[in-house]
């Protein structure tokens, strides 16, 4: 039965029928069909992207676009400018991330506190999360970056970098606190009950039992937000921080060529993709334990 299906050019039917039909297969037969499906996947990938490439390259204005975005000379010129400028972004997102992780955790814990007495704290944290998720981040950056120094209070910093860090921290803490909160809520109430029944206080139960589990579960979404933060560091170019995007604008304007933007895009790819893979590895590693532990 399955043999007749296996011969087709897109032989994935073979794998499907292998699962569906009754008698067990020998290892060699399975290896052969696995090899075939790898081959097919490889082939279809080449065909798919080849087709896209062909369409792009044969577009009417391709030579012009090629000159504007893929100029080798501009590339060589802009890389030494742009890569060091990225260090500013690295500083931005590293400092901001630490502050975000702390502030967001405080906000999430505040929102998780029970009892009517603590209502004002819950309200505060809720309003915070609502406001900073509602207003576009770039506006927060503008308002802080131009507004606060504009007050001309003696002694307050004038470096836009400082306001960039503050603005990113404020905006991302609102999102990250929701991630933490989801994590806290995902820990089954029986865990807290077990902790409290041993005489741990509410705070101890949170600190030693609920939060460690909550945080571990939300590491992948936290890293996702971290990736988002890395990319959003380019927004602070609007208040005068010379970071990678601003630098690539400068180079673009100097050369009348868009290649620097492509360089910038590649820098972000290089830094972000390993992080995305790390997220996958972590999910796979933690999944088993937490599925087993919280029946």
């Amino acid at each position: 039965m399955s043999g007749s299906l296996a011969g087709g050019p897109l032989g994935s039917g073979d794998l499907l029928s292998l699962r569906a039909s009754g008698p067990p297969r020998s290892g060699r037969r399975y290896d052969r069909s696995a090899f075939r499906s790898t081959l097919v996947a490889f082939g279809s990938t080449i065909v798919f992207f080849g087709l896209i490439g062909w369409v792009v390259v044969h577009a009417p204005n391709w030579p012009e676009v090629q000159r504007s975005f893929l100029d080798g000379a501009v590339w060589a010129q802009s890389v030494p400018d742009i890569v060091p400028a990225f260090l500013v972004n690295v500083q931005l997102f590293c400092i901001a991330e630490v502050l975000i992780l702390v502030l967001a955790l405080v906000l999430a814990v505040l929102r998780s506190l029970p009892g009517p007495v603590l209502f004002p704290l819950r309200l505060l944290a809720t309003v915070y999360a609502d406001v900073f998720r509602a207003v576009p981040g770039v506006l927060i950056i503008y308002l802080l970056g131009f507004g606060i120094p504009g007050l001309q209070i003696a002694g307050i910093p004038t470096d836009p970098f400082v306001y960039a860090v503050i603005a990113l921290t404020l905006v991302y803490s609102a999102y990250v606190s929701e991630v933490y909160r989801a994590g806290i809520q995902s820990v089954h109430p029986s865990q807290e009950a077990a902790a409290r029944s041993l005489g741990l206080t509410q705070f101890q139960a949170l600190r030693y039992v609920v939060l460690p589990q909550a945080v571990r579960r939300v590491i992948p979404p936290l890293l996702n937000d971290f990736i988002g933060l890395q990319k959003d560091t380019v927004l602070v170019s609007y208040i005068g921080v010379i970071e990678i995007f601003r630098q690539s604008q400068i180079d673009q304007q100097a050369a009348f060529n868009y290649t620097p933007y492509l360089v910038t895009a590649l820098v972000f790819l290089v830094i972000t993709i390993p992080l995305a893979r790390l997220v996958d590895v972590m999910i796979a590693r933690d999944r088993r334990r937490f599925l087993a532990g919280t029946r």
């Binding site: 029986s190 409290r196 041993l198 005489g199 589990q213 571990r216």
Partner: protein, 275 residues
Amino acid sequence: MSRTTGSRGVGTTAGPSGQAPAGSGNGQARALRVEGVWKSFGATPVLRGIDLELAEHDVVCLIGASGSGKSTLLRCINLLEPLDSGRVFLEGEEITAPTADVNRVRRRIGIVFQSFNLFPHMSVLANVTLAPCKVLGMSQREAGERAVGLLDRFGLADKRDDFPDRLSGGQQQRVAIVRALAMEPDLLLLDEITSALDPELVAEVLNVIRELARGGMTMLIATHEMGFARDIATRVCFLDAGVILEQGPAAEIFSRPREARTQQFLQRIVEAGRL
């Protein structure tokens, strides 16, 4: 029976560490007294006036159909659920008083849950030492020694560094018992601790409880294991629709139940081959 060291029994004048006179109260120190406890979840009444007393070293089994209020009663005694009305006394001290320190009360009452509720992010040893370290203020070493002693006693010495997901259900439940014992509670509450176990793992857990009973641990046990209840209980209470309908020595309840509801319940248990 009435070795009442440490008892603050009602009506006794003995100090915390003094020997209470043997004739105090009904002749035995009351480890636990539950008075007129009512509890509803929303509009559903679950406990409708529960009165119950346990002397020290008593092993009392709560039997009854699912939903009869056994688990809720245990959770109320542990103050995990607030009472609607009624009072609970632990060694003569009202623990439901508004001034009672909930955290101090819970140190003295251990509870083991049907679903184990081990902390999945901690090793067995860390599960057992957490509360002694953080609540009793013991050093890691001191708590570790106590934990290892207990784990050893219940055949879990080689599991101390494993995480809960590496253990069988029976092992997990024994660790949960050890975790409760590490606080050296005055009273142990067991909430259907074998209900989530595969049949072949039930015995290893019940044997732990038998050993604890022999050691004089005061226990209140909600259970569906009727054979076990008959063996171990100094008294059996039949809960029905939120009241203790009938209670007495195990032999009496199981062989000559007075109430029609008790007879029906036991009849169904026998028909299911569980007694």
